[in-house]
């Protein structure tokens, strides 16, 4: 008997063991924000990579993933832009493209799924890439750094590498939409009850805080469409985290980071002061693994996260 899976239950090859995983050499797609307003994310990612012994080879000629916005004007452009990026990874002999942004993850995986599920769409993209001598053969998988840490390094190994456990720091996970939804595109873990960030927080000695806002939207993508909308969404989510005892937030997405870090000052009028510092995923992991705090760009955050670390006597 065959079971027909509902779309939200379908998983695509998220757990494949790649050549990149075996050789520990990965294609790296930092995305626009880690190269522009969140350079501390890029830097802490590279420091973490060195610490865990993997090589991240930046795809320097890659373009923006489309950031969910280019789809609004044209149904093909994100697919072809990303096929160009995947062709660059293939040319370097890499079959994993690692992202450090939820939005990049979701949209690059969606583009890849469209390419891999249809010979016609792959041929269409290659018809355009052919104009400048590039070709995508369909061997690439897009994975977030979070998945790499859990699947390729392993939580047990990470635990062993921790030299500065977080001393019970109460950390609220904030997933960001596009690393979990839609499940038909991501499928690495349940979108309704994800627990990878909680597992990671526990592995590095923190205490995960459960709250309903952890899988909700930060409002980043519509911050410019209407004044006040993103702060309202940020405030709603951070209120829940704060009320459940959070001392800090961790997010795998720099867009969520910008919204959460930037708008809590504006959301205070409606939701009360929350002032939760928001760590980028690699910052907090690298910190626990012993990377010096002053190299992680913690001073670049609007809500300074060093206070939360001082309170738990993790830094002086």
């Amino acid at each position: 008997m065959t079971t027909t899976l509902l779309p939200e239950e379908r998983a695509i090859d998220s757990h494949r063991k790649s050549h990149s995983a075996q050789t520990r050499r990965y294609g790296f797609f930092p995305g626009c924000v880690a190269k522009e307003s969140c350079k501390e994310l890029f830097n802490s990612t590279m420091l973490l990579a060195e610490k865990i012994g993997i090589e991240l080879i930046e795809l320097t000629a890659a373009s923006c993933c489309g950031a969910s916005v280019v789809n609004d004007t044209n149904r093909d452009v994100a697919r072809v832009l990303n096929a160009r990026t995947y062709a660059q990874a293939e040319a370097l002999g890499l079959d994993d493209v690692i992202t450090i942004c939820s939005t990049c993850t979701g949209h690059m995986r969606a583009a890849n799924k469209e390419l891999l599920e249809s010979e016609e769409r792959l041929a269409h993209a290659n018809g355009i890439l052919g104009k400048f001598g590039a070709k995508y053969n369909g061997s690439v998988m897009v994975r977030h750094l979070l998945w790499l840490l859990i699947d390729d390094i392993g939580l047990d190994n990470l635990k062993k590498m921790v030299v500065r456990p977080l001393n019970g720091l109460k950390v609220a996970p904030f997933y960001g939409c596009h690393i979990i939804r839609p499940e038909s595109v991501n499928g690495w873990e349940s979108a309704r009850q994800p627990h990878s960030l909680e597992d990671l927080i526990t592995a590095i000695g923190g205490e995960p805080v459960d709250y309903a806002g952890k899988t909700r939207c930060c409002g980043f993508h519509i911050q410019l469409e209407k004044d006040g909308i993103a702060p309202a969404m940020v405030g709603q989510n951070m209120r829940m985290a704060k009320d459940n005892g959070a001392e800090a937030v961790i997010t795998p997405c720099p867009l969520c980071h910008l919204a959460l870090d930037g708008y809590q000052a504006d959301s205070a009028a409606r939701w009360g002061r929350t002032d939760l510092p928001t760590f980028h995923l690699p910052q907090l992991v690298a910190f626990a693994l012993g990377v010096p705090a002053d190299t992680l760009g913690l001073n670049k955050h609007i809500i300074d996260p060093r206070g939360a670390l001082v309170a738990r006597e993790l830094i002086s």
Partner: protein
């Protein structure tokens, strides 16, 4: 028979100021749907428990509610997929709605947004001009079939985080249903419909995919994107922030290969819209105080001309 305990939100707006909860145990097989468990509770234990239901088979769209914190149709959710280790299933009214009695909510805001669409065909000519029904090519009908499956259960509306903070947003179901008429070849009000839904904050969709849990697999998010594309194609309300944002993002990607944050903010809000820029300035100042303002000028990525080739081949609009 296993025992299922329903932990039910109880409230009557006519008499109560605050809600309370009742735990009601029923003897039903664990594979029973949450709706049938509620029916058993109502029939055998407490006749005053109120909830909407009709078809019991995911067609009428009446019984959407929060089941262990997850919004969905009670008739489509077996108890054993949601109950905890003690066999408890908690049921609450849909979020984003005002509770009326127990699990029944005031649906008016949802219907208001739906009726604003004029959710009926508005053809150019009269029915009486035709000897028989209007025929539609099956190819033209194909793209409407999925969205026509919508049962208006409001699950997507209840899940939408934008609706939760800004009730003026039309919400996923209404925009998806607007698509159903915008793309119907028999309809003559395409322009008016796109303008109407743009006015009801079409561009406020946050791309969060919360509506991807649609119990009928309508995928409202994808239809919202379709309506946005129709708006750009027909150049409806192009001076609003939504279309400007989409086009300036395209422009910066074409020019530099990257989404250039500074340019996107100015292009969306308006370079000469001083009041608008002042309103977005606080975040900019906060970023600046940490030395992390995005660069004003960006070096294009290597081989940026390839992006131009892609954009030209696909005729991607940049203005």
């Amino acid at each position: 028979m296993a025992q299922i305990t329903l932990d039910i939100f109880r409230f009557d707006e006519a008499t109560d100021t605050v809600p309370h909860r009742d735990k009601v145990a029923v003897n039903v097989p664990p594979t029973t749907t949450v709706l049938d468990a509620l029916e058993a509770a109502k029939a055998e234990v407490d006749g005053s428990i109120s909830f909407r239901r009709s078809c019991r088979s995911a067609i009428c769209g009446s019984c959407s509610m929060n089941i262990n914190g997850v919004t969905g149709l009670a008739c489509k959710t077996p108890c054993n997929t949601v109950m905890d280790e003690n066999g408890v299933v908690s049921v609450d009214p849909m979020p984003n709605f005002q509770p009326m009695k127990d699990l029944v909510v005031h649906m008016d805001p949802f219907w208001d947004k739906y009726t604003r669409l004029k959710p009926y065909l508005q053809p150019k000519d009269k029915d009486s001009d035709h000897e028989r029904e209007r025929r539609v090519d099956p190819e033209d009908m194909k793209k409407l079939v999925q969205v026509a499956n919508c049962v208006m259960c409001a699950t997507c509306y209840a899940l939408c985080p934008v609706v939760s903070v800004d009730p003026s947003f039309a919400g996923p179901a209404a925009i998806a249903y607007a698509y159903r008429f915008i793309e119907d070849v028999r309809d003559d009000q395409r322009g008016e419909r796109i303008a109407q839904i743009s006015d009801d904050y079409l561009w406020l969709c946050a791309h969060c995919y919360a509506c991807s849990y649609c119990p009928k697999h309508v995928d409202p998010h994808d239809r919202i994107v379709d309506v946005k594309r129709a708006a750009i194609k027909d150049r409806v309300m192009m001076n609003e922030r939504g279309p400007r944002h989409a086009l300036v993002v395209n422009k910066t990607i074409r020019q530099t290969g990257m989404l250039q944050e500074t340019e996107v903010i100015q292009g969306t809000v308006g370079r000469f819209n001083i009041t608008g820029l002042i309103k977005v300035a606080p975040l900019g100042l906060r970023l600046a105080s940490r030395g992390k303002l995005p660069p004003i000028f960006m070096k294009p990525i290597p081989k940026v001309d390839e992006i131009g080739i892609i954009f030209d081949a696909l005729e991607v609009p940049v203005s």
